[in-house]
Amino acid sequence: MSAPALAVIAAPVTSTGGGETFLFWVGAIVSVLGALGLIFSKKAVHSALFLCSVMICLALFYMAQGAIFLGVVQIVVYTGAIMMLFLFVLMLIGVDAAESLTENIRGQRWAAVLVAVLFGAVLLGVFAHAQLGPFAGTDAANAAAGGNVQSLAHLLFAKYYWAFEVSSAVLITSALGAMVLTHRERTTERKSQRELAGERFKRYEKDPSTIVTPLPSPGVYAQHNSVDTPALLPDGMPSELSVNATLRSRGEPRDIRPLPVPLPREAAGARAPGDAAADDDSDAHLEVEA
């Protein structure tokens, strides 16, 4: 890059270009609405999605401000990994865990709103009254080592080398901590298949209605083959046993409408006359005799 061009780029920024202004206002509205949605949505999964939208807006802001690599990392690490972890835990502990609306401390909610508003006012007032100098812009700093990533690498592996090393220790410790916290010791020995079968037959001795054979598997049809679909018995009735007990207790299994089976007479009529003689149906015999 030539020296005059660099000087133009490195000039202090007091006002952003039209594109960035547009991006800022759109992104600011979306991110503030997303933050409000995060706080006030009833379902935790919706909160997670709102937080994702806020994070993507922030990633765009980072990129607009010259922090290209940080913007990409924001999307990959925050929206990709951390929010996935949140959703994973949400699914694990039940998405529909209702939140209690009773206040343990009376008036706590309004006090919280008041505190947050005052805190925000203080922060905004500090920024409004601070002597913020003109913005130098990151273009010169980015161009110093040939690009945003290279300049960051020069800083990270030289000036902040020690913090970088320590952060690896933090990550390893947290991974170990998560494993230790979620580990569960087995208090009883796991039963083998042989012992389970023995117990089942002992129960059968006392109660002959116990089913000792494996339960029938759920139905597989052209229309659906999910586990809540009951299998059909030879007489066309859905088999209750083929659906998991949890699904059965939660609601009725999926309704099965079997395809119309042709009546014996229609089936016989559709066949060749010679075949009809083989039927032991009395009607067929009559036809042959006639």
Partner: protein, 99 residues
């Protein structure tokens, strides 16, 4: 537009995150609000980095992300452990130390 507006936005997002931490009971949503506060702080770091024309602010934002990742991993593990023993993810139900 004055680039200072990024700072105002980060202040608003931080306050909203603090509000969420104070009024929500679901431990996971409280955690998400903490993430929002960390993100707002990161936005301020990046804006200050642009103001000073140095990349140190972006490096600090990276370290914030590292710490946030570690914190989320351990925090969610704690939430799962509490949920296993108390069958609830509400911050009001974890009150054994109170009595």
């Amino acid at each position: 537009m004055n680039p200072d507006n990024y700072l105002y936005l980060s202040a608003i997002l931080f306050s909203l995150g603090a509000l969420g931490v104070l009024i929500r009971r679901n431990a996971i949503v409280v955690f998400m609000c903490i993430e929002l506060m960390l993100n707002a702080a990161n936005l301020a770091f990046v804006t200050f980095s642009r103001m000073h024309g140095k990349l140190d602010g972006q490096i600090i934002a990276f370290f914030t992300m590292v710490v946030a990742a570690a914190e989320v991993v351990v925090g969610l593990a704690i939430i799962i452990t509490v949920f296993r023993t108390r069958r609830s993810a509400s911050v009001d139900d974890a009150n054994l130390l109170k009595y």
